[in-house]
């Protein structure tokens, strides 16, 4: 092989993904996104730009929203990672997933996993955001289909329902 990355340079990295302990062999600087998608077959996180601009690879790492295309997998050692696959409880959708469905928050669906995780993060820190705060809070996640209104409405509706219940 002409690969300059020596295979022996791969290292073992342990972290929790969607509540389950996982162990992977990966190059330390491999992108968390690639490890999730290629090794763990968690393809819900998408690559939109590869430079942290679009947010479609967003996942939660120890409760913090990160662009997994910018995170070297080594940095995930010992962390708890949540991907879109970890939100629904079996067939029961997460309340944000329900709201996105009902309010038209998902069109082509490619930004949706990242957008829903960003919304989760937003509501964790601010359970009753104003429309402005939602727009600001989601501005790191790009969507080309919806013009955002129905996403913002979905988050507002989800927040309303959760605080009402």
């Amino acid at each position: 092989m002409t690969d300059s990355r020596d295979r022996r340079a791969k290292t073992e990295i342990s972290f929790t993904v969607n509540g389950e302990p996982r162990k992977v062999h990966a190059y330390p600087m491999e992108r968390l996104l690639d490890v999730l998608r290629q090794q763990l077959q968690l393809t819900g996180a998408k690559e939109g730009c590869g430079e942290g601009e679009c947010g479609s690879c967003s996942v939660l790492m120890d409760g913090v929203l990160v662009n997994s295309c910018l995170v070297p997998v080594l940095q995930a050692e010992g962390a708890s990672v949540v991907t879109i696959e970890g939100l629904a409880a079996g067939e029961r959708l997460h309340f944000l997933q329900e709201a996105f469905l009902e309010c038209g928050g998902a069109q082509c669906g490619i930004c949706t996993p990242g957008m829903i995780l960003a919304s989760t993060h937003l509501l964790n820190g601010n359970p009753k955001p104003t429309m402005e705060e939602i727009r600001e809070g989601l501005s790191g996640n790009l969507c080309r289909c919806t013009g955002y209104s129905q996403i913002v409405e979905a988050v507002a509706e989800a927040a309303r329902r959760r605080t009402a219940s």
Binding site: T43, K46, F100, A106, G109, L142, C143
Partner: protein
């Protein structure tokens, strides 16, 4: 019998659950055993002859599959209309990023280095990059004269109108390239075996690719199979270019006898694939003292890039929409698509109409100023009325009342009181505000004879389990194709929505119901789904398996019994042109579209004179699109289109250097984020349409047409300074204000630029 209507209801999106849970399978989510990864070696220069290709010593080339033009088993072209675009450049390159070689390897990480290690020597040839250079034939880069296509529309006696005119108003308007910027980059997987070639990909038009692969691979129809994966946005950007990527993946798969996946990264996708055609439109209009248009000349030119691809069709839609929703007693419209040495420009939502309508709607404000009327009044006095004819002499048979649409939009936007309060507000301060209007139309379906040629076929199947399945090549990429076509079938069969499913678009499974473009899916394909569904029902009734009225359970049993007795149960429906629609391809005259959607949009803006940035504070989008079959999806289409069009007007600038996009990253090509956009307020009028399924017309492209001119009209209203080019960036506003300031001080007493352009 299900008495409740399903069309008109916001039923759950068919594939929505998979999308919100991340389960949807996009092409990059799919893995085949022993799959290789492919990459493309592209031209580094705009135009020249390929002299020598050298493979650098640092790469173990024996591990790679390498494909060049000489490996192509069939014809080296992307079969589309003119077949002038090679799949791989052989001797000459005509634009930067033109594909020359293909590489494949099992480790995707090795490909970028390998691509870099291929060096190509060229004999450079002179290249041209602008409409102006192409028009004056600074260099002939395509055919005899750089001209891909011209059209001429003539109505009435234009040469006679200038003498009668009280005002002759002239203007020139330009629009830039725009990147579709679907969030899922282009990608394809190809596999080759004894059955032939199969491709899975992110795409809009399975049968375009099917046709292209037959020609390229030299295979008969039954040996080519195209499957659409979930597609993460398209907007026209996945109409024609996927044929290129499918061709590349297929060539690598045929040579290696292994599956090959090609996924573009963002930089490659932005640099190499199609964009909206840059345009230049010139208007010269004869107007009476009371603001009536007597006639005019419109010159509409688009930059097609290096190959003809779809430019002739984009030009056609652009030229037909160039006169806007107005009555022209006389008009002469000349249109031209020209070649340059940029990557070919292509399909993008609106397809030529956003360019020509931008010019028309800016020009209406200019006419208003020349005559001394308001933007409202000038439009009202010239709106097309039922019974009048369009520029192609199509009689308006729809009972549309554009004046009423305008009134409703003015009320919704609180136009008059805002204008009044802005007049006060703008007396002082660094944040002038303005209001702008755009009125427009958008034809649904293929232009002219297009639908006749397409001759689309749709199938509906009664399945063995008694459920119903719709068989179409129409693709879902966010608009809601699966949902709305299921609604239509369910409505036609009086069945619950849940009992209808959609076949995956797979050319082995579904007939050619035409491409998913041109706002045609709901209106044209939907109508065929309706009639194919009725065929299922009729067959069951005439076989005495079902009564005229029935429950869903009775239908299920009847369907099961039919399949048990007769086997596969499918009903087909083929497009037949309505008998009252005529189009003359030679004279470019007649019924250009079976139906138009109509709209009035109003933008409210603030210009910050410290940063020169424009913010859109409120946006009213009012349209008549026939019957709205799914209110939530329809509203989503309009808001999304308006957002994309705000980007077109204010943010999205493709920076070119020698035909190559310089800012091919999301970091420096700026599309609107959630915090950049106002709440976009959507209103519908529903007049119905006899040609569409349950009265529907097209909707997808319409919202792309109006926002840019409405916003620029509002900017002029705020500043009193005219801008006629988009995108309009802060630096353009700064330059415009500076040169206006200089002009104003040398021409004291001139009030704004309001009177310029009006020649008494």
């Amino acid at each position: 019998m299900n008495s409740e209507h399903i069309v008109g209801k916001s039923v759950p999106r068919k594939e929505g659950r998979d999308k919100v849970t991340g389960r949807s399978q996009y092409v990059d989510d799919m893995v085949l055993p022993n799959m290789l990864f492919g990459a493309t070696v592209r031209s580094q220069i705009p135009r020249g002859r390929i002299n020598k290709i050298t493979f650098g010593p640092e790469i173990a080339w024996n591990e790679f599959v390498i494909v060049s033009a000489k490996d192509i088993p069939g014809k080296n072209c992307i079969a589309l209309i003119g077949d002038d675009q090679p799949c791989l450049a052989n001797e000459f390159v005509n634009h930067p990023e033109e594909p020359i070689l293909l590489l494949a390897h099992p480790d995707r990480h090795l490909l970028p280095k390998a691509v870099e290690a291929v060096s190509i020597e060229y004999d450079a040839l002179p290249a041209i990059f602008t409409i102006e250079e192409s028009a004056r034939r600074a260099e002939i880069v395509w055919g005899e004269d750089n001209i891909f296509k011209t059209y001429l529309i003539e109505k009435g006696e234009v040469d006679g109108v200038w003498e009668e005119a009280d005002y002759i108003v002239e203007g020139e308007y330009t629009t830039g390239a725009q990147e579709q910027l679907y969030i899922e980059n282009n990608g394809m997987i190809a596999a080759f075996d004894a059955q032939g070639i199969t491709v899975w990909g992110s795409l809009q038009c399975p049968y375009y690719i099917h046709k292209a692969l037959m020609a390229l691979c030299g295979l008969p129809a039954e040996k080519v199979r195209v499957v659409q994966m979930e597609t993460g946005g398209a907007f026209g950007g996945k109409e024609e270019y996927p044929s290129m990527i499918a061709g590349h993946a297929a060539l690598l798969a045929m040579k290696s006898c292994k599956p090959v996946k090609i996924i573009y990264d963002r930089m490659e996708d932005m640099a190499a694939t199609t964009k909206r055609h840059p345009s230049r439109t010139r208007h010269r209009t004869a107007v009476t003292r009371d603001g009536k248009i007597l006639g005019g000349e419109i010159d509409f030119t688009i930059d097609g890039g290096a190959y003809a691809t779809l430019s002739s069709v984009v030009l056609s839609r652009g030229v037909i929409h160039a006169g806007g929703p107005y009555y022209w007693p006389s008009v002469r419209i000349r249109a031209k698509a020209l070649a340059t040495n940029a990557p070919p420009h292509g399909a993008f939502r609106g397809f030529g109409a956003p360019q020509s309508l931008f010019a028309m709607e800016r020009h209406m404000d200019r006419i208003a100023q020349a005559v001394g009327l308001s933007p409202i009044e000038i439009r009202r006095r010239n709106f097309l009325q039922p019974g009048q004819t369009t520029t192609t002499e199509q009689v308006v048979r729809e009972p549309i009342h554009l004046g009423n649409l305008l009134d409703r939009a003015l009320e919704a936007s609180d136009y008059h009181s805002k204008k009044k309060s802005f007049a006060n507000h703008n007396q002082s301060g660094a944040t002038p505000k303005g209001m702008g209007i755009a009125a427009f139309l958008h034809g649904a379906g293929f232009t002219g004879s297009g639908e006749r040629y397409l001759s689309s076929v749709v199938g509906v199947e009664g399945c063995a389990d008694g459920s119903v399945r719709v068989l179409v090549s129409s693709t879902e990429f966010g608009q809601g194709t699966k949902t709305v076509l299921s609604q239509i079938a369910a409505e036609a069969l009086s069945l619950p929505y849940e009992n209808v499913s959609m076949a995956q678009p797979d050319t082995l499974e579904v007939p050619n119901s035409g491409p998913t473009v041109a706002s045609r899916t709901v209106m044209v394909v939907g109508k065929l789904v309706q009639s194919a569904a009725l065929g299922i029902r009729q067959t069951l009734i005439s076989s005495n398996l079902l009564r005229e009225t029935y429950t869903a359970e009775e239908f299920r049993t009847a369907c099961q019994n039919y399949v048990a007795a007769h086997g596969q149960f499918r009903s087909w429906s083929r497009y037949e042109a309505p008998s009252d629609i005529f189009w003359d391809d030679q004279k470019y005259r007649g019924d250009a579209y079976a139906a138009f959607a109509w709209a009035v949009y109003i933008a409210e803006v603030t210009v910050d004179l410290t940063t020169y940035s424009v913010s859109v504070d409120d946006f009213v989008a009012l349209q008549e699109v026939g019957k709205v079959l799914h209110p939530l999806l329809a509203r989503g289409q309009i808001i999304g289109g308006v957002a994309q069009a705000i980007g077109f007007g204010l943010y999205e600038k493709v920076v070119w250097q020698n035909g190559r996009m310089q800012n091919n990253q999301m970091t420096n090509y700026i599309m609107p984020t959630s915090s950049d956009l106002p709440p976009i307020r959507v209103f519908f009028e529903e007049l119905g349409n006899v040609y569409g399924a349950y009265g529907a017309k097209g909707i997808g492209e319409l919202p792309m047409d109006g926002p840019a001119p409405a916003i620029l009209n509002a900017v002029e209203d705020a500043l009193g300074v005219r801008f006629d080019s988009i995108p309009l960036l802060p630096e353009d506003i700064m330059d415009g204000l500076n040169s206006h300031g200089a002009a104003a001080s040398s021409q004291r007493g001139d009030h704004g630029l309001g009177s310029a352009g009006g020649v008494p």
